[in-house]
């Protein structure tokens, strides 16, 4: 079990960085969505990309997902969750909009 926490016990660099990044990403998403003239598909793709990056920041910088004796299981579990989530959402929309 390796814990890398004690290394940065003086100043919470990773937290501050994560926080700033999150704020930046949020505003970036707002800007892409509301203040550009991209096509709607591009906007949807971009803002979701940004959302996923931000979610990853939460997981790694705030939630310490890569800690604990079973970190690989944890990370694997969350990746699988993400995959299932995408299947559920994209699958449902695809299937139900294909009905006439």
């Amino acid at each position: 079990m390796e814990q890398k926490t004690e290394k940065h016990s003086h100043f919470p660099w990773s937290h501050v960085l994560g926080f700033l990044l999150s704020i930046a990403l949020t505003f970036l998403a707002v800007w892409v969505g509301l203040y550009t003239n991209l096509s709607i598909q591009t906007i949807v793709a971009l803002v979701f990309l940004l959302a996923f990056i931000q979610a990853a920041i939460q997981l790694f910088m705030f939630m310490h997902i890569s800690e604990g004796e079973h970190k690989l299981w944890q990370i694997g579990k969350m990746i699988a969750s993400g995959l299932i989530a995408i299947i559920i959402v994209v699958g449902s929309v695809w299937v139900l909009t294909s009905m006439h």
Binding site: H70, W73, A80, S81, I84, I87, I88, G91, S92, W94, V95, L96, S98, M99, H100
Partner: protein, 657 residues
Amino acid sequence: MFDFIKEHLILDDPLILGANISIALTTIGILFVLTYFKKWKWLWTEWITTVDHKRIGIMYILAALLMFFRGGVDALLMRAQLTVPNNDFLSSHHYNEIFTTHGTIMILFMAMPFLLGLMNFAVPLQIGARDVAFPFLNNLSFWSFFSGAILFNISFVFGGSPDAGWTNYAPLAIEGSPGPGINYYLLGLQVSGIGTLLTGINFVVTIIKMRAPGMTLLRMPMFTWTTLITSFIIVFAFPILTVTLALMTFDRLFGTHFFTLTDGGNPMLWSNMFWMWGHPEVYIVVLPAFGIFSEIIATFARKTLFGYKTMIVSLVVISFLSFIVWVHHFFTMGGSAAVNNIFSITTMAIAIPTGIKLFNWLGTLYKSKIEFTTPMLWSLAFIPTFVIGGVTGVMLGMAAADFQYHNSYFLVAHFHYTLIAGVAFACFAGLIYWYPKMVGYKMNERIGKWAFWLFTIGFNVCFLPQFILGFDGMPRRVYTYAPEDGWTGLNVASSVGAAAMGLGFVVFVYNIYYSHRYAIRETEGDVWDGRTLEWATTTSIPPHYNFAKIPHVQNIDTFWDMKQRAKKQTKKGQKEEGNYEPIHMPSNTGTAPVMCAFFFVAGFALVFELWWMAILGAVGILCCMLVRSVRSFEEDKGYYVSVEEITEAEQPFHKEG
């Protein structure tokens, strides 16, 4: 209040009136016996509040057997109605309620708890653990399953059963079924679903974190593997069910518009969400069954499992594929050719990993030394019968052909061939196999074989003709048909088969009684010459702490391996004397059963929209949660089993050894 009861108690139907009376009498009888023999305290401290995974497992199995009976009686009633054309034994309304409760009960309150019971009983033993990771949650899981099951079952005498099929499709279940029946369905499943989800989490953590030293992932018994993968599927699939049920509950109680015909709701969304859970669900029940068969076949073939690693790979592949095939349940809904095509392919792809498993079982039998014990008979019968179920599944998976099979008896035959040959056979096999561990003696083999042959032959006589009925255009869920349809002969055959199955079940249950009276009690732990750790306990019924000393694992089939090595060293094996250390165990919980009683209250209240009672139930639940978290302030650390007690409990070993 009295009026409320009078209004909803079903008294106008002789069948149900009879059931009412017999339920009332049985309840009074049980209460009387408990009081007379002063068993209340025993019941409470030894069973209701227990956190011992073995006892929880046994309670699951008892409940499942009871539900098998209920679902089975439903089935027999349906078969009685369908035996001849234009029969008026059951009205359409009754028939509809009965097939709905039959399907729901068999899958959710029979198959699931039966398998969860076997997992609970066997898995911690197989991995050499003292209990599951979260014993409190385990008790909570059982009771929430149980209160959900009871809630669902009382519908039949109080207020009316759900009648929209176990799939409960909208709009029929919203605009077309005003009574409380559908609410019972929604809330009964909701409450028991919570229990299942918690069990899933519990087993993932148990298996990943609590294995005995040396038991690497690739040394885990196959049943443990299937439990692990099943638990992962549960963790991903049951939340979908939770949401789906909740949304329809909102539609029915709070006027939302998810699945309604009015105001933009989309009834097809229900089918979509239901099957996103529903398809993984059928693999949730069949994968542990595969695990059970793997254990039993390896044990009685006296041979190690063939292709252990590919078995695992195929498990993982199946579990992933199970999430991307759901549309095959509604190919006929009018999706585009592209959608149907993709989902046809993913569906048929499941045949590949399943085929690998099947051939590996055959490989296990190759160059083996088969002993035809009853658990082995059930497991062997599974192989050819399940193949029929599986390949017909692949036929259904071809969307263009499914337009002809859908909603026909071909489908009914398919899923009984998978559910019964896959799941019910595994339940019987697993129960007989682990029975000596549970109670200390084997079930009678001779009676067991009668039950086996009656049930399996009856099963084929019942469901094989149904494939043909499907080709002859007989739709499912019809309460009657006309003589001109030409379906009479095969229906008669089918009903005869069902009767034989019923008889087989009765013989099976009788065997429980018979063996209780007459079976020879076992004196040591290894009654079948087993291969995995559950057989390594010194006594035939493991003590509540399972292992006095946690075993060290060096191989797959650990216990077999240990025995082989012991044989080589000395004839008797080394005697491990004393040197016990006190064992830490969790204490019992009264909070969970009480909390689940409140679940029941809240669920019942919502069924009838009794808001005050619902609030009462909710407050009760919250209080229990609060009590629980305040209790854990005290760092409830359980208790220690003393060395003397352990030495005492491990006695038989010394006598024998």
